[in-house]
Assembly symmetry: C2
Homo-oligomer: 595 residues x 2
C-alpha cells in the first residue's frame, strides 16, 4: 500500500497546492449531488475532503458509496476554501483536499453511537463497544495525556539515575493487606501463586542488592469489592531509593509532580509542596486526604462546649471525644428543614448518631440545640466559627474518628454542592506522620496503617512494646485535590526492629518466619537505609484529564463486578484445564449446560 | 541523614583536596594495624578509603569493626595515592579518601558467596540469595544494560508517534496457542480469568479504535514446561500499527534495533537487514532462525543422488522427500568412528533414522555409504559440497522437515564446537513468508503457524479452501545471532476473510463465536489495515549482554519447575481463600502436615 504523506490534522495553509495522501475514517459525509464532502479523521484531527466530477469522476463515484466510519485511502490537492466556508473550530478549517483518488479500505455498519465527545450513551454500551468508545475525541485526548504523563515520569526518573527494573507477577500470597488474586500451579499440585498487590518486598530486596534507585510502572492487583474509584488491576508508579531520607525524596518527587502538571496541563506549581501531619489534616479537614482548594475548615469547640447543658456535647467531651463545628456560610435560609434533617442520615454513614445544627440570625442562634447553650457559650462559638447572619452551623460531638469522618464528609459535600472548589487549581499536599499502627477490634490486634515494613519516626520505636498506637510512622501520602495519589515510607532495614514490629502486630512467629523469612535473612547481609513511594497512575491521569471516573483512564477497564463487557471475562474453562490444575469447582450448578 | 556528595566511582583526580561524603558497602577491608583500607562500593564503582590515626582516631576505631558488606557512611578528603600504589584497573585508582568520619549504618554476616564477577556457586544458591547475587558486578552490568535497552526502545517509539498504552492482565482464556495461567474469580463462581499470552486481541482493538501506533513493554505468561530459554512470565515489546505495510514496519524496526545495538554495545549495524524466506532459511540453514555468523550451509543433493543405489537416498527422493549434505571441513581425521557414530543418536532426536557420512581423501571418499555411489555421483557430490581432503561429509535423506531439522542441528553443533562463530558480530535477519498454517496430525486439523489473525500474502487467500498448507503468511520473524528475537504479521481486518480463516482452522462455529465474537464485531465498524510485531525483551538483553542464560536477565526468575527459590512461590493457601474462590483441591495428599 502507498503510505500516507501527512496526518489529517497537519493539512493547513502552508500545504496549499501540494498533493497529499491521507488515510483515516469518514467522520461525516454530505452528498450534494455532483459534489461529496467528507470529514476525514485520523489520530491527529479532521480535514475536509471534496470529491467533484471536475477533479475525478471515479473518486466521486467512490465517495458516493462512503458512509460514516468507512476507512479511506485518499489522494488529492490541498486548496484554499472560500472564505465564507472557513471552519474556525478546527486547525485545518481554511483548506480542503480536492480528491484525485479515493479507495475504500474497509466499510462500516451504522454505529451503535456517534463518535463525538459528548455522548449520553450508558457506560455499559460504551464498554461493550469499547473500541468505538475509544474513537471519541475526549477519549483519544485522555489516552494521549496518559501516554504523555507516563513518558514524562519515565524520562524524569531515567534522568535522575533510576533504573527501570521488573519484578515478578507470579509471586507468593501473604496474609497481610487486601485479598490476593491467586493463580493455581499446574506443576505443584495444591499450590498457588499470587498476583502482586505491590512489588513491596521485591523493591526492598533490590535496595539490598545495591541498585539504589529503582522504579517501575507496574500492574498491581487487589481482589476487593469495587467502588467507582477502584479497579481489580491498577497501575502503580513504584519508586524505591537507598541512602535518601524523606526530605531528599520529597524534594525530588515535588520536582517530578510539578513538572508533570506543567507538561500535561501547562500550569505552574509552586514547590516545596505544603505539608500537614495526619493529626492536623484530620483536625482541620476531617480527612487524611484534604481537599484544600476551598476553606470551610472544621473548628475546634471542645473547650467551649464541654460543660454544655446539651448532653451530646457534654458526654462526648467527658468520654475523651471531641466537639467540632462547621460553618456553611450564607445558606441558613436557602435550606429547608427537611434538607437539613436529611443530612443527619448522610453523616450516619460515618458513625454519627445525629447532627446538631444552628441557624445564625443577626442577634441569635436558632435551632433545636440553641436552648441548651448559655449566653457565654453562644458568644464563644459564634466567635470561634466566625458566624454571621445567614450562616448555617453544624456540630459533631463523638469520638475523634466519628467527628472527623462525619464533618469531613459534610464539608466536602457542601464544598462541591456550593461550587466552592476552584477547579483550575492543582493543590498538592504532603500528609505526614501517620500512626504506625491502629487497633483492629475484629482481629483483636494492632494492624499496620501502611504496611509492616514501615519505619517508626526517629525516637518513637521505644513505644513498640508499650504504646504502639502512639508511634508515628515515617510514612507519607501525597494528596492532590482531595485524592490520595501516592503513599510511601522509610522502611525498617534492621532485622531486630523488624522482628519487634512483627511481634507488635501479633504475628505468629512461625507465620512471620514462613512469609517473610527471605526478607529477614536479607537484612542479615548489609541492608542499606531505604524508602520509597508509589503513585496511582490511573488516578493521577484522571485528575489531570479532569475526569471523574477512573474507568475513563483505563483502555479496557473492568465493571464494578470485575467483568469485562467486551471480552466477557471472566469465563468458564474446560474440565481438562481444571484437571491439569488439580482443582474441582465448589459451585452449586444451576444448570447443566455451558453458557 | 546527611546526603552523599558523590558516588564512589566519581572520586577521581579532579576532586583531590575536596571533602566528600560517600555511602556504600565495604567490598574488602585490610587492617594493617594503625591503618585500615576499605574498598567502598556503590552502584557506580569502587573507591579506596583509608582510616589513619592522624586523620581521625574515632574513624579508625570504627573502621576496625568493619567487615565485608557492612553498610558505611563515610566523610573524608580526596588525596592522591603514592604512584607505586596506583590501581590501573579502576577509574578511581589514582586517589583515595582519607576518612574523617565513618559510621556503620548496618552490619553483615559473612556471605554465602563472594560479591565478584566470576562465581562458581551453583545457580540454586544464587537464586536462593538473589539479593546478594544481584550485587555481583556482572549482574549489576546486565541490569544496567537492560535498563538502557528498555529506555532506548521506549524513547525511539515515543519519538516515532507511538502511544504507550496498557492492556488488561485479567483477561479471557482462549483455546488456541499455549496453555493459559488461570485466575479464579471470587465474584463469579466457577469462572476464571486468564493471564495474557500476549495482548494480541487488545492491540488489534486499539487499531480499530484509531490509535494507529501502539506499543507496550508488557509481561506475558505461558504455562508450558520450561526449557533453559523459557520462563513462565516474560517481557514483550509489543508493537502494532495501522496503515503501515510490512516494508514501512521493517524499515522502522531496523532503525530501532540498529540504534539499540549502537547504544548498548557501540557496534554499527548496517541497514536494511538481510531477508530470507522461510523456505530459503530451512533449505540453506535447516532452521527458521538461522545462525548466519558462520557459513557451512546445507547443500541440496536430491537431483544428484535420487537414483542412487543407496536405498535410503533413493526412497527419500521417491517419496517426495529430499537429500541434503553438510560439509564439515578439515575434521575427517580428527573424529573417531565412535564420535561419528554418536552423531546418529544426536540427529535421532530430530526424527532422523540414521546419519550417512563420508570422509574425503585425496582421491576417494571413504565410509559405509561410499560403495553405493557411482563414479559420477561421487564426482557430482564432491563438486556440490566443495569437498576437499580431510573434509567430513554428512547426509540427510528423509522428509523435508526431518532433513532440515537434523542437519540444521548438526550444523549448529559443529559451528559451536569448532568455534566457527564470530562472537563480536550482531547478525540480524528477517525471515519472511512463513506458511500460514500447518497440518497437525494429533488434532487432525490445520493449526495457525503464527496465530489465527495472520493475513495471507496478497494473492494467496484463494487457497484457503483448497490448499491451505500452500498459503504463505504475511508473517515475519526477526532473527539475531540464531535466536528468534521477535515475530509479527499483518493482520486480517476483514470479517469475511477472518471467518474463512476460522473455518479453515476447523474452528467450531459456536466456539469461534464465543471466543472471538468481539473481534469479529469490531471488524464490522471500520477496521483499518494493521499489523505489528512483538520482541522478546529478555532474550534481546541476553544476547546484548553476551550471556547464555535467560534467567541472568530477569531480576527474580523462576526455576525450570516454575518456582522461586527466594520467596518459595508457589505456596499453599488457606482454606478460607479456597472457599472464597469456590474451589476444592483435587490433590492426593501424601501427608497431613503443611510444609
Amino acid at each position: 500500500m502507498i503510505g500516507r504523506t501527512h496526518y489529517c490534522g497537519d493539512i493547513q495553509e502552508a500545504l496549499i497546492g501540494e498533493k497529499v495522501r491521507l488515510k483515516g475514517w469518514a467522520q461525516t459525509r454530505r452528498d450534494l449531488g455532483q459534489v461529496v464532502f467528507i470529514d476525514l479523521r485520523d489520530r491527529s484531527g479532521i480535514v475536509q475532503i471534496v470529491a467533484t466530477p471536475e477533479q475525478s469522476k471515479e473518486a466521486l463515484n467512490a465517495a458516493e458509496r462512503v458512509r460514516n466510519e468507512y476507512v479511506l485511502d485518499v489522494e488529492g490537492i490541498v486548496v484554499q476554501r472560500d472564505e465564507e466556508t472557513y471552519n474556525e473550530k478546527i486547525p485545518t478549517g481554511k483548506v480542503e483536499v480536492r480528491v484525485d483518488e479515493l479507495s475504500i479500505m474497509n466499510a462500516s455498519k451504522p454505529l451503535p453511537f456517534q463518535i463525538e465527545a459528548d455522548t449520553n450513551v450508558s457506560e455499559d454500551v460504551r464498554l461493550r463497544y469499547r473500541y468505538l468508545d475509544l474513537r471519541r475525541p475526549d477519549m483519544q485526548e485522555t489516552f494521549k495525556l496518559r501516554h504523555q504523563a507516563t513518558k514524562f515520569i519515565r524520562r524524569f526518573l531515567d534522568d535522575h539515575d533510576f533504573f527501570d527494573m521488573e519484578t515478578p507477577m507470579l509471586t507468593k500470597s501473604t496474609p497481610e493487606g487486601a485479598r490476593d488474586y491467586l493463580v493455581p500451579s499446574r506443576v505443584h499440585p495444591g499450590e498457588f501463586y499470587a498476583l502482586p498487590q505491590s512489588p513491596q518486598l521485591f523493591k526492598q530486596l533490590l535496595m539490598v542488592s545495591g541498585f539504589e534507585r529503582y522504579y517501575q510502572i507496574v500492574r498491581c492487583f487487589r481482589d476487593e469489592d469495587l467502588r467507582a474509584d477502584r479497579q481489580p488491576e491498577f497501575t502503580q508508579v513504584d519508586i524505591e531509593t537507598a541512602f535518601l531520607d524523606t526530605e531528599d525524596l520529597f524534594s525530588m518527587m515535588e520536582t517530578m509532580m510539578a513538572g508533570l502538571v506543567k507538561e500535561t496541563r501547562g500550569v505552574d506549581i509552586e514547590t516545596p509542596f505544603p505539608r500537614m501531619t495526619y493529626y492536623e489534616a484530620m483536625n482541620r479537614y476531617g480527612s487524611d486526604k484534604p481537599e484544600t482548594r476551598f476553606g470551610m475548615e472544621l473548628v475546634e469547640l471542645t473547650e467551649i462546649l464541654k460543660d454544655s447543658d446539651f448532653k451530646v456535647f457534654k458526654n462526648a467531651a467527658a468520654s475523651g471525644g471531641i466537639i467540632k463545628g462547621l460553618n456553611v456560610k450564607g445558606v441558613a435560609n436557602k435550606m429547608s428543614r427537611k434538607e437539613i434533617d436529611d443530612l443527619a442520615e448522610f453523616v450516619a454513614a460515618y458513625g454519627a448518631k445525629g447532627l446538631a445544627w444552628l441557624k445564625v440570625e443577626e442577634n441569635e442562634l436558632k435551632g433545636p440545640v440553641a436552648k441548651f447553650l448559655s449566653e457565654e457559650e453562644t458568644a464563644s462559638l459564634r466567635e470561634a466559627l466566625g458566624a454571621e447572619a445567614e450562616d448555617l452551623l453544624f456540630f459533631g460531638a463523638d469520638t475523634h474518628q466519628v467527628v472527623w469522618d462525619s464533618l469531613g464528609a459534610l464539608r466536602l459535600k457542601f464544598g462541591k454542592e456550593l461550587d466552592m472548589i476552584d477547579r483550575s487549581k492543582f493543590n498538592f499536599l504532603w500528609v505526614t506522620e501517620f500512626p504506625l499502627m491502629e487497633y483492629n477490634k475484629d482481629e483483636d490486634r494492632y494492624v499496620a496503617m501502611h504496611h509492616p515494613f514501615t519505619r517508626p519516626v526517629e525516637g518513637d520505636a521505644h513505644l513498640l512494646e508499650t504504646k504502639p498506637e502512639d508511634i508515628r510512622a515515617e510514612a507519607y501520602d501525597l494528596v492532590l485535590n482531595g485524592y490520595e495519589i501516592g503513599g510511601g515510607s522509610q522502611r525498617i532495614y534492621e532485622k531486630e526492629l523488624q522482628e519487634r514490629m512483627f511481634t507488635a502486630l501479633g504475628f505468629n512467629k512461625e507465620e512471620a518466619k514462613e512469609q517473610f523469612d527471605f526478607l529477614m535473612e536479607a537484612f542479615d547481609y548489609g541492608a542499606p537505609p531505604h524508602g520509597g513511594i508509589a503513585f496511582g497512575l490511573d488516578r493521577i491521569v484522571m485528575i489531570l484529564a479532569g475526569r471523574n471516573n477512573l474507568r475513563d483512564t483505563i483502555a479496557f477497564p473492568k465493571t464494578a463486578s470485575a467483568t469485562d463487557p467486551l471480552t466477557q471475562a471472566p469465563g468458564k474453562v474446560s474440565s481438562r484445564q481444571l484437571e491439569e490444575l488439580h482443582l474441582k469447582l465448589d459451585v452449586v450448578e444451576e444448570e447443566d449446560e455451558d453458557d
